[in-house]
């Protein structure tokens, strides 16, 4: 017989009072809440409602898509748009320099492809006696870890240059500025850094261009009022937000009906989402903000026994191969993976006293249907996760280095 203290119902009601009120309070005010479009609420989303849409950038990148780049098109990773250059006289070294690379992650196939290319480029620069070694740290998608990594490099104080692929621009800004403060060259690539202290920012044209390319293709191939399902990987990642913002803008102009979903790039979620959409009504096109999402989308139609509509993807081979095999209307926008080697080349140039563009914009050439076969043939024997724009054909390790599973 355990004479427990008697629970007065009052305490219970109080308890749930607290619970309820807490939830209310939280949902009521969300300081700094930055929800853009509300996902998967059908037509609810409009570009104008999307905070991350910026007309100015849209126009710039729209122009850059078709601009002519300085340099030999055969080596696009060396091309750039004319603009301010960085004086490299101060950064010239009389010895091979040590490069410290803070990498956001290797958690998707695009980054893995780029990382291989970068390591092959490193071999070249090492053999040329330009770079002594590359010390790389992988932040595994964690802002906190990346800041710690950058600070570690700064504290260790034995880097001749920094390469930083930020995880999320705002969060790493402070650390990047600390790196700049060391006076050593700092190269940012892929995502921006939320600051402009860096020596040079290496990136291909950008997310807006990517979105414009893919969305325009859909707009051109789907009749007005058609229904587009947009699959978004994750909110808040600037690259994806830009792609989406641009695409959303195009769709709206083209008068297409858009339903967008956040999928976390989980193929299971993608397929069930689309299955439901297919069950509910017609889907005229599927737009994805990441190539990996395209193949599950295509499969969803196959499994439902429905014809595959327009499905855009990216230059990842899994998509290109599915596209060729299944012969649907496809289009592969590109976010050039070879920028990974360009970042290293930029450092090499600085060490050698060669000037480089302050804002190194690389070309970003999509793969339309007529270039599909070429792209596939050029990458025979490469794994599904490989990207056609890896840009390593001239590197020593080619092709075996990219073929390991």
């Amino acid at each position: 017989m355990k004479g427990k203290f008697v629970q007065k119902p009052r305490t219970k009601t109080m308890l749930f009072g607290v619970l309820g009120s807490l939830v209310l309070v939280l949902t009521a005010c969300a300081p700094g809440s930055n929800t853009g479009t509300t996902p998967n609420t059908g037509t609810g989303s409009t570009a104008s409602a999307n905070p991350s849409f910026d007309q100015k950038t849209f126009d710039t990148e729209n122009a850059q898509r078709t601009a002519t780049f300085t340099g030999d098109p055969a080596t696009p990773w060396l091309q750039y748009l004319p603009g301010a250059m960085v004086d490299a006289s101060k950064t010239k070294l009389d010895h091979p320099g040590k490069v410290c690379f803070s990498n956001a992650a290797l958690s998707n196939t695009w980054r893995q492809t780029g990382w291989i290319t970068m390591q092959q480029q490193l071999k070249v620069l090492q053999s040329q006696g330009v770079i002594s070694k590359l010390e790389a740290r992988n932040a595994q998608d964690s802002d906190d870890t990346q800041v710690a990594d950058i600070d570690y490099f700064i504290n260790e104080n034995n880097c001749d240059a920094y390469i930083i692929a930020p995880n999320s621009p705002k969060a790493t800004a402070g650390a990047v500025e600390r790196a700049c403060a060391t006076g050593k060259p700092v190269i940012i690539f892929d995502r921006g850094a939320g600051t402009d202290c860096e020596t040079s920012f290496v990136h291909s044209v950008g997310g807006y261009a990517w979105g414009i390319d893919s969305a325009s293709f859909i707009a051109a191939n789907v009749k007005k009022g058609g229904h587009v399902v947009a699959l978004r990987t994750a909110p808040g990642v600037d690259v994806f937000e830009q792609r989406w913002a641009a695409a959303q803008h195009i769709f709206e102009k083209a008068g297409l009906k858009v339903t967008d979903y956040l999928t976390g790039a989980d193929p299971a979620k993608i397929k069930s989402t689309l299955s439901d959409e297919i069950a509910k009504g017609t889907v005229d096109a599927v737009w994805v903000d990441l190539g990996d999402q395209a193949v599950p989308a295509v499969e969803a139609f196959e499994d439902a026994g429905k014809p595959i509509p327009v499905v855009t993807g990216e230059d990842v081979l899994s998509y290109l191969r599915a596209w060729k095999a299944k012969g649907f209307k496809g289009f592969a926008p590109v976010y050039s993976a070879y920028q990974w080697r360009t970042a290293l080349i930029a450092v090499g140039d600085l060490f050698q006293g060669k000037e480089i563009p302050k804002d190194w914009v690389l070309p970003q050439v999509p793969v339309p249907a007529d270039k599909l076969d070429a792209a596939i043939n050029a990458n025979k024997g490469m794994p599904d996760g490989h990207y056609a724009s890896f840009g390593g054909e001239d590197l020593p390790g080619y092709p075996t280095a990219w073929q390991k599973p």
Partner: protein, 344 residues
């Protein structure tokens, strides 16, 4: 409370038993499921079509199978946090080792079975013989397994296995009377559920419940407690593996495949009236609960609730499922206490 009715061998009429059953948490879940299904059909009539519905059921199969595995572990008084890691590992194994060569399917599947056996055995032995709490033991194995998986794949596994292997997750039998289309995954699910039901009626299953209820008594009854629990962990690992096979078929290889499945499974099992700590709960209720969760989630999608609210809903469900019965219990207990006060 003591009953003084004379012991009778014949069981009470089916209806009466069903009636009483539905008032238990394990029974109530079926009512909830029915309600949710009605809602689903209202918001998406197309699912009323048997074929469509079977497809829907088919794609929920993996999570249901995982819940099935988790049931065995929880009912025996332990918990398994290594399921997601096993799924990831198995998916990658299938993707990378089978590749486009159909002839490799059998050997690789055998290898996967071996891996499941090893991990399950490890979880069980660590928990029972080395007395590492299952929470920690399975967490540890999860870290090891997923760590190795991602190390081997550099962090982003890709490359789907040959289509013939993926059929089990994608394909099905068409033109079946009544159902129309029957995905293979639903057949796998059905078979596993039947097996589980049988297993829980066999001595093993009954003893598993007994262990969860009172391990000391079970030991004195001559059962080897460690082996019972270890087998539960092995079953759980196999469930994860089968789920992985269906999943790699349905969705293909991806770094995030199977993520968070174990917590949905745990939620489901608890929602199904299975008591954390063991000894109580019906396997079918756990499955029903898992299915109810999936139905609820897609219902939310149809209604247009942001998918980001999903975890919140899951959380509320957990708390309500556990909180309400407990509140009732404490109130009853306080009454019995009062009745024990001096009567004057």
């Amino acid at each position: 409370m003591t009953t003084t009715t004379r012991f009778t061998t014949e069981r009470r009429p089916l209806l009466a038993r069903v009636g009483r059953g539905l008032r238990t948490p394990g029974g109530a879940i079926f009512v909830l499921l029915a309600i949710l299904l009605v809602g689903l059909f209202l918001y998406n009539p197309s699912l009323g079509d048997p074929g469509q519905f079977m497809r829907f059921l088919g794609r929920t199969a993996p999570i249901l199978i995982v819940a099935l595995g988790q049931y065995f572990v929880i009912v025996s008084g332990e918990i398994d946090l290594s399921m997601a890691a096993i799924i990831a590992a198995q998916v990658v194994l299938a993707g990378n080792l089978i590749g486009q060569d159909a002839s490799r399917i059998l050997p690789v599947v055998l290898l996967m079975a071996l891996l499941a056996l090893v991990v399950g055995l490890l979880n069980g032995v660590l928990t029972t013989l080395f007395r590492v709490p299952s929470f920690i033991a399975t967490l540890g194995t999860a870290l090891v397994v997923s760590g190795i998986t991602f190390y081997a794949t550099g962090g982003a596994p890709s490359g789907n296995p040959v289509d013939s292997f993926r059929e089990i997750g994608r394909g099905g039998i068409d033109k079946v009377p009544v159902f129309g289309f029957v995905p293979y995954s639903t057949i796998v699910l059905a078979v596993l559920v039947v097996l589980a039901l049988v297993l829980m009626r066999r001595p093993f299953g009954r003893m598993l419940l007994a262990v969860g209820d009172n391990a000391r008594m079970t030991a004195l009854a001559g059962a080897s407690v460690w082996w019972l629990r270890t087998r539960a962990f092995i079953l759980s690992a196999f469930a994860s593996t089968i789920a992985a096979i269906v999943l790699v078929g349905y969705a293909g290889v991806s770094p995030v495949v199977g993520q968070g499945y174990q917590f949905i499974a745990i939620t489901a099992v608890i929602l199904g009236g299975v008591v954390l700590g063991g000894g109580r709960g019906w396997v079918l209720s756990a499955i029903a609960a898992a299915f109810a969760l999936e139905v609820l989630f897609s219902l939310l999608d149809f209604i247009g609730v942001q998918s980001t609210w999903r975890p919140a809903v899951q959380g509320v469900i957990i708390l309500v499922a556990l909180g309400v019965p407990l509140l009732r219990f404490t109130r009853r207990r306080s009454q019995t206490l009062r009745s024990n006060r001096p009567n004057k």
